[in-house]
Symmetry: C2
Subunit: 302 residues, 2 copies
């Protein structure tokens, strides 16, 4: 079966056709329109429709006996009833981009939240390949979560499962924008790491600065990183105690530092986790697919 | 289909045969042997085997054309490979009670942790009937959790999912016996409620004393209960943010106070939960089946 996946981002739109082995056999990228008004949804629909049409035509020459079955689109937003609920960066609120794309391509189109798409990709084709249950934790401005069990995203009754950024780990802690105190993402998101470091060393303005400082042996960065790891391992251990997935995959930009993050995190978690008897423990890995996860996961969602 | 469920407790063993509508059509109870030595497993096997045989015989007169398909046994312990791993109250460690019961009855026998059995019962026949996903929270000496999704217990890679009692909600808080600080059950278990109350009013020795004091307008009890509800609602809201199940069912002895617990808990949770868009929210209910949950859930596990 061949499926087309689209990764709709704030600056680019990438699309690709994947085969049954999760290989991307054709792909292309265009810029996302910069227009933000009542026409945005229509323009994006047409752009995705044309990009998809182009790939489908290339595919036809490649495999004239086969057909692309459906299109999955990963969007930086909540999704309900195949509508984009809140893609604030794109100015799309309760927006329908699906019907326009179906009109152009003649194919069924399904939207999926982009973090969930990335988790699906890691489950089938990335760090979690071969496991039954995977929890993906994405460290970014906030912290996103996605639980995949038996190949399916656990969506929740309102399609909003995975808000682990708003799991309280310090009931008397920092005030969170959700109204509670001490949420996981107030301490363990990439943003929290940078702002905690910047508060101690004003020359640190982003993750790149931070990890450069850490690598150079900056004592402030080391101390901030140790605190960060305490909080991150606390939240990761909570998820393990609650769900005991086969694997937890850490994604988001910060995961690019790989073992710098993974090794001390694993060490801490193995000491904290509550397992009474079994020697089987949740594995911890860094996300593997990065740039291609969006396309692969969106394709796998259909 | 007819199935036999057994609830193996520290003082009594209850068994019942249920029909397809989850009605218990025959049941009986015996005392659990008080012998705690190397013969305990054998004695318990024989007792359960005989009790089951008696019910199966009664069933044969009732429905000679039908047959009991299998036996499920709820045990107060972790279960691995159909062994009782740690029923400390019964003195059963890595114990096989299954083969003896199969020998006597000729039926397949499956063990399930008793808290999971209760959750299955609530899912199919109790407070969660008709839902797709249920999270059961049992407030007792500790806090147990069980997530049921699409009719199946989410067991975890090591069969140990549901350790929500060891979800940290106060990273700098009370030292827990698991080695971490600020675990949910250190604040929101029934034991924590009683010991927090006793620290303020030494006449309170158990849950009954506590709720009597609360009912009589005791100001200390009111204040302790308010704190307790703050912690309980924190943990419950965490589970909702992570999983967004259709329903959370509150069980355990303390849940017998019903609305005294449920109303203020619901009020707090509805203010804390993080839902950005949807008006669909996780429902909160008190467990419904109590005494029969063990038999029904054990039967449903096979």
């Amino acid at each position: 079966m061949y499926r087309l996946g689209v990764d709709l981002g704030g600056t680019t739109i990438s699309a690709g056709i994947i085969d049954d082995n999760y290989n991307i056999i054709f792909s292309d990228t265009i810029s996302t329109t910069e227009i933000r008004n009542e026409d945005t949804a229509k323009i994006i629909s047409e752009d995705i429709g044309k990009l998809s049409g182009k790939l489908i035509n290339e595919f036809k020459s490649y495999a004239p006996e086969s057909a692309v079955q459906a299109i999955g689109i990963g969007v930086p937003a909540s999704v309900e009833n195949n509508l984009i609920i809140d893609a604030n960066n794109l100015g799309l609120i309760n927006a329908d981009i699906v019907s326009g794309i179906t009109r152009i391509t003649g194919l069924d189109v399904k939207l999926i939240n982009d973090a969930r798409a990335a988790a699906l990709a890691e489950y089938y084709a990335g760090a979690g390949a071969g496991t039954k249950s995977l929890y993906m934790i994405t460290l970014g401005t906030g912290i996103g979560g996605c639980f995949i069990y038996g190949g399916k995203v656990i969506e929740g009754c309102n399609n909003a499962a995975g808000e682990i950024g708003h799991m309280v780990i310090d009931i008397n802690g920092r005030v969170c924008n959700c109204g509670r105190r001490g949420c996981f993402e107030d301490y363990a998101s990439a943003s929290a790491l940078v702002s905690d470091a910047k508060a101690e060393d004003s020359s640190i303005n982003n993750g790149k600065d931070f990890f450069a400082a850490l690598k150079s042996g900056n004592k402030i960065a080391e101390s901030v990183f140790n605190n960060y790891l305490d909080y991150l391992s606390c939240g990761v251990t909570n998820i393990i105690n609650i769900l005991q997935p086969d694997i937890i995959v850490i994604g988001g930009g910060i995961s690019a530092v790989g073992d710098t993050l993974l090794f001390p995190l694993k060490e801490r978690v193995s000491k904290l986790v509550y397992t009474q008897h079994s020697r089987i423990q949740t594995d911890l890995k860094i996300a593997k697919l990065n740039n291609t996860a969006g396309i692969i996961g969106a394709a796998l969602s259909v």
